[in-house]
Amino acid sequence: MINALKLLWVRFTHESQSALLPTDSRQVRPLTIVVAIMCALGCLAGLGASAGFRAASTWTSDLKSAMSIIVQSPRGDEDLERAALIVGRIEGVTRSETMSRERAKELLRNYGTDLSTTLDALPVPRLIEVGVMSGQTTVKEDIEKELTAAGFKIVVDDHSRFTGEILRTSTMVRILAMMALLSLVVAALATIAFAARAALETRREAVHILHLVGAKDAFVAREVQKRFLRLGFVAGLWGANAAGIIALLGLTVFAFGASDFTSGSPLVSWTDLWILLVAPFITAFASAWAAEVAARATLRDLV
């Protein structure tokens, strides 16, 4: 790592001599493009995982900070007020309000079905809306205990059905993103290793001459490593830039189509920028590493 950093420093600060092994732009260009694409996809997978994680945590914390109590009996207005008071005294509860019949009807209407005619005939649920401090895990049990003790028959909806679903989905998304990232890394390393081997095999004669004038395998491998460090860095820059542009385009589209549901959680945040910033360096080091390992193995086979 230190060695690679030093190499990078020398590479970009000193005017270096011609490479001892000849370069071939016909090999470098397509390889740079392939590695850049892999890097861009890797960045997008990283951004996706990060965005998914952020969205899920925003949604779940929104959902977790609120509960609804459905009071089945007694259902009188005063009973409801009494229940709300009891709930309001429970530790971790920030807010406890009864929901008026009108609002409850309103809520039902929002479900889309045209219930206007039948609605009045329906028994409207009596609800208490509860705000919960974050990090409070015993509130649900406390509410159930207190209200049951006070003679109420209630059901507490803590949204766990939804939060569980969101957590499962976001975990799934993250696992998929990580797997995509992992397979990209493996594919990129294999591509680089293959290219490094090919680079040495097509320069067999030059490698042989270097050996005969006293070059160690490590020296030849380092020549190859230098080249792929540079290639990885250039490809990484292109890839990270492409990923940044794609993410920005995605954001713009998302901003126009934003709904209430997503407005609270930006898809990409400034903190994601680090993914794009470190990508070229990671690509450069990974490329240099894979090339060096492949070069050493190839050199053992060559002579």
Partner: protein, 244 residues
């Protein structure tokens, strides 16, 4: 096995090269060398002669460690090259300068960079060798072509670049495979004079050549190969030095 050929490490003043019943069989089945035994004294000047296909290049390849013996034992600087580890080879090769029959310059490097190659593979900083390389190139008459690419040089000029690369690191053992093969007699004589200069500085020199005239005139000891067998070996007396 001959007890004298055991490797006990390099002793100063001992033979710099010692072959004992060395044979080389190429993958194709060609037996290029058979039962070759001889010693070269440190600081000697030797010619290697024989008809084309006799195995001269093969013998030199063993000496510059491009090949290991199929049978027998080859010792260089007291090291059994058949047993030398992969990591030891570069260190041995750095004591050896080679002028290949086909020059083997790197076509994408300038004249200067080709000659500087032995320093670069040793990670010697440019400042420490730039002057030496410049001086040597001027000395072989290529002072004006320092930045030229090999393909823009004549055959004789390329040969001088190859020679400069072989001698620039002041090797203990200089090996040249038909270095006068492709040049006019005048240039041939100049090249031999260069080797003699190096020999005077203490290097052991081995030159493969067809030029029997040159060999006879020099009076240097001769190894002669015919169909893979050594038919003439230098007298191993330490006083048997070239009459140059």
């Amino acid at each position: 096995m001959n007890h004298k050929t055991r490797t006990l490490g390099y002793r100063d003043g001992g033979p710099i090269v010692r072959f004992d019943k060395v044979g080389v069989t190429y993958g194709s089945g060609t037996q290029a060398l058979r039962d070759v035994s001889f010693e070269l004294e440190s600081g000697g000047f030797y010619f290697l002669t024989g008809p084309s296909g006799a195995g001269k290049s093969t013998l030199l390849k063993l000496m510059y460690l491009a090949l290991r013996p199929s049978v027998g034992q080859a010792n260089l600087f007291g090291v059994n090259v058949g047993r030398a580890s992969r990591n030891d080879l570069p260190l041995l090769r750095r004591k050896i300068g080679v002028v290949f029959q086909d020059f083997r310059l790197l076509p994408h490097l300038s004249v200067f960079e080709n000659v500087a190659m032995p320093f670069r593979v040793r990670n010697v900083p440019l400042a420490d060798y730039a002057e030496d390389v410049d001086d040597l190139l001027r000395w072989v008459g290529l002072g004006a072509r320092i930045d030229a690419l090999p393909e823009t040089l004549s055959g004789g000029e390329q040969q001088r670049v190859a020679i400069a690369r072989a001698v620039v690191g002041k090797p203990s053992l200089l090996i040249a495979d038909e270095p006068t093969g492709n040049v006019d007699p005048d240039m041939g004589a100049r090249i031999i004079r260069l080797f003699i200069e190096l020999h005077k500085l203490g290097a052991t020199v081995v030159i493969a050549t067809h030029d029997l005239d040159l060999v006879r005139r020099s009076g240097a000891p001769v190894l002669r190969l015919e169909a893979g067998e050594l038919t003439q070996a230098p007298n191993s007396s330490p006083l048997m030095k070239a009459n140059l």
